[in-house]
């Protein structure tokens, strides 16, 4: 069972975060809120998202699993206005989700959750380097890197206490360094890994809205991007596998 009302903007923010990586997912509901975990088709990027019941203006749910067509949800957002209140209701027919707003009532056929990939288990990895940076800054640097290359290096220079993002193109390169005044060094140990900008661009757009993104890094290791949504009543973690250049 699910019956919840939520601000259109918060719902959109959450769906956008998921749609950066996948087109469908299994959504879990229980009395505390909703959550999902998904991995993209190439097994390169994972998302784990939690929306607490406090993010909703009203929320009642029991434990269940819904197969959501993310692309379809995004289409519906086109019809919504900012600050619309959206009611989500899982009716007795558990294969239909009712979405109501502005007097409209959408009945969305859910996907058979068995056809959607099972929740991936996040790998157990140590990522010692930790910094926190404004989401907008992170996204700007990603966009700048995309101009010259298809991959971007993220790293921490421990000696200089600098967090850097750099991209090498065939002819040009670009580098942006952040000092202590711009980022907070939670744990400034040496780190550097390379990531595909294909993924970073899509994730960057989502992260640009976050006040602060915590980045966890290692050396030639995945990166974890962790940030709040829904005014602190929700949380997203992206995990991205690195590119490793042949020597």
């Amino acid at each position: 069972m699910l019956k919840a009302t939520i601000d259109a903007d918060i719902l959109k923010e959450s769906i956008d975060a998921i749609s950066a990586l996948v087109t469908e997912c299994r959504l879990h509901t229980d009395e505390n809120g909703i959550s999902t975990r998904a991995v993209d088709t190439a097994n390169v990027a994972m998302i784990s998202l939690l929306l607490k019941k406090e993010a909703f203006s009203s929320f009642a749910a029991t434990r269940s699993e819904l197969g959501i067509d993310i692309a379809k949800m995004k289409n519906i957002f086109g019809m919504m206005a900012k600050n619309d209140m959206i009611t989500l209701e899982l009716t007795d027919d558990i294969h239909k989700l009712q979405v109501s707003f502005q007097g409209y009532k959408y009945s969305i056929t859910l996907l058979d959750e068995n056809t959607i990939r099972k929740d991936p288990n996040p790998p157990t990895i140590e990522l010692p380097g930790k910094v926190a940076i404004p989401g907008a800054e992170l996204n700007s640097a990603i966009k700048a890197a995309a101009v010259v290359s298809d991959k971007i290096a993220l790293g921490i220079d421990a000696a200089k206490q600098i967090f850097f993002m750099a991209a090498e193109g065939d002819t040009d390169h670009i580098r942006r360094e952040f000092g202590k005044d711009e980022v907070s060094f939670i744990n400034g140990v040496e780190a550097k890994s390379l990531f595909s900008l294909d993924y970073m661009k899509d994730m960057g757009k989502v992260m640009s809205r976050a006040e602060e993104v915590e980045i966890h890094l290692g050396i030639d290791h995945p990166a974890k991007f962790s940030f709040n949504i829904a005014g602190g009543n929700g949380h997203v973690e992206y995990l991205l596998a690195p590119r490793i250049e042949a020597d």
Partner: protein
């Protein structure tokens, strides 16, 4: 079976040269496969995905595949194309790229042979606006989980060209040997069921199941084909023969069951929607459950129009009613394969003809039965005078053998020196033809491999060049300067004045004065001229 194991078998076969050794290797693997794996294995190893009767198509173009590869490997599409240019083979290129890929992933799942097939089914099911994106997702998913070697064969299967040199005949032998069944029985079952995968599954249950096969409506069977010959020798061999006009149109197969009916082309594509007029005529002529074989011709004022007019109608997807007014089509029915639950292909021709005449009213091709060469000769001239291509001579006692070209059907037509060849490359035109291809590279076949034979640049109207461009531009695999290479599929009929021995082309022959005659998109790539038959033609030339 894991796709990894399947790939290892393909790799083994690829280096074996001997046909018997290949048959041996495959037949040893078949018995251990599960009921679900067996048909998939059998079709995949031939580079096919769906049953031959099935209208399902994967429709993954080379460009979509390149995009998927680029994404998974973490590179640009241009790099993928460059690698293909360098290796000359999409399979090897994907293998190389996967081996060098920089992008790591969190995990990969072992691909099962059957999972791969189910993913392909998903792709074939998707249609409409979103289909390209859905297809791309599946391509990415498969490649993301593939080892480099698996990537080699996945890529080739997705383009339905496995290039390991295993033909249907070898697999038939392997099935026969694996399940200890006479290969003639296997062959007959394949003709009726038109899916060697399913036949293998039946073979596993024993010979009885294979003996008792039936044709089913909406599972089209391959068309029976004719070979060249002469009136004299046909009569000498058979005594009495049956003769029919050879229509210059396009073959069709009509299926009807429970009030539903469909039309299939020579390549067994579903052309029901393109030919509503032909369908209506046939539905009026018969009301029973039936499968008919015939030829559609275009007529204007009582005279048949050239074949090209018919083909344009077969290809049509939009504006069908407008085309219908311009080109009127009529069916000529000459055979019956199935009637009310009964499979008729094993009956003699004359018996089938009787059934045909009772079950169908009208539009049956006239037939002459005679043992007199002069009468048949006169019939032949009447056919030519009426604007038809010639006549067909059929052995009265012969069964209908789907897909077979044999001496039971002989075609008699004026001698023309034309070859059906695959278009494998082209060069961009010049001047006002700069936006079209101007010259085309053509290939014949030898043991399933394509061997370039000639270029053709003359004989085209502007309209035909535009048509060729429409049919070919999505097939471009590689570009280099003014030259492009195509994923083979389109066939040209080409005329020539003489065959010459030449070291310019790998087949050892070249065409003198090649000229374009027409596009043969009713024909399948496996039906193009073989190098052996070209050699025979060369030997028959007066001066060789």
């Amino acid at each position: 079976m894991l796709f990894r194991e399947f790939s290892a078998i393909c790799q083994q076969i690829e280096v074996i040269r001997g046909r018997l050794e290949i048959i041996d290797l495959i037949s040893q693997r078949l018995p251990a496969l599960s009921d679900e794996e067996l048909p998939v294995f059998v079709r995949f190893i031939m580079g096919r995905i769906f049953p031959d009767w099935s209208p399902e198509k994967l429709m993954i173009g080379p460009n979509l595949l390149y995009e998927g590869v680029a994404y998974v490997v973490g590179t640009k599409k241009e790099t993928v194309i460059e690698t293909i240019n360098r290796t000359g083979d999409i399979g090897k290129a994907v293998e190389l790229l996967l081996a060098e890929k920089e992008q790591t992933s969190f995990f990969s799942e072992e691909l099962e042979l059957v999972t791969v097939y189910h993913e392909f089914e998903k792709i074939a099911d998707t249609g409409g606006k979103k289909s390209q994106r859905e297809k791309l997702l599946v391509v990415r998913k498969l490649l993301a989980n593939a080892s480099p070697l698996e990537g080699r064969y996945l890529a080739r299967i997705m383009l339905e060209d496995l290039r390991i040199g295993v033909g249907e005949g070898s697999i038939r032998e392997a099935v026969a040997r694996a399940f200890l069944i006479d290969s003639g029985i296997v062959e007959h079952a394949v003709q009726a069921l038109n899916d060697l995968g399913y036949v293998a599954q039946l073979a596993k249950t024993g010979e009885a199941a294979l003996r008792d096969v039936h044709i089913s409506p909406f599972h089209p069977v391959k068309m029976m084909l004719a070979q060249q010959g002469s009136i004299m020798s046909a009569i000498a061999e058979n005594g009495t023969i049956a003769a029919e006009y050879k229509y210059d149109g396009s073959r069709f197969q009509f299926h009807r069951q429970g009030g539903q009916s469909k039309l299939y082309s020579r390549k067994l594509e579903d052309v029901t929607n393109a030919l509503p007029d032909v369908l209506a005529i046939l539905n009026e002529s018969t009301t029973t459950d039936i499968i008919l074989d015939g030829e559609v011709i275009a007529m204007k004022e009582g005279k048949p129009l050239p074949f090209q007019a018919v083909l344009r109608r077969f290809r049509r997807k939009h504006g069908i009613s407008k085309m219908q007014e311009e080109v009127q089509l009529f069916p000529n029915v000459f055979d019956i394969l199935y009637l009310n639950g009964e499979t008729l292909i094993d009956l003699p021709l004359m018996e089938r003809r009787k059934r045909l005449e009772t079950a169908v009213s009208g539009h049956i091709a006239p037939q002459l039965v005679s043992n007199d060469p002069a009468v048949v000769e006169a019939f032949y001239h009447r056919a030519l005078d009426a604007g038809h291509e010639g006549i067909m001579i059929k052995a009265p006692e012969s069964p209908y053998t789907p897909g077979m070209r044999g001496k039971n059907w002989i075609k008699i037509k004026p001698e023309v020196d034309t070859l059906d060849l695959a278009v494998v490359g082209a060069e961009w035109g010049e001047g006002k033809r700069a936006h079209y291809f101007g010259s085309f590279l053509l290939a014949c076949q030898k043991n399933g491999e394509l061997i370039t034979l000639s270029k053709v640049a003359t004989g085209f109207s502007d309209e035909q060049l535009a048509e060729a461009y429409d049919l070919l531009h999505d097939r471009i695999i590689t570009k280099a300067g003014k030259e492009v290479r195509f994923e083979p599929g389109l066939i040209f009929e080409v005329g020539y004045s003489e065959l010459q021995v030449s070291s310019n082309y790998p087949g050892g022959f070249a065409l003198r004065f090649p000229r374009f005659i027409r596009i043969r998109d009713d024909k399948d790539i496996t039906e193009i001229e073989t190098l052996d038959s070209i050699r025979e033609r060369y030997m028959r030339q007066p001066n060789s």
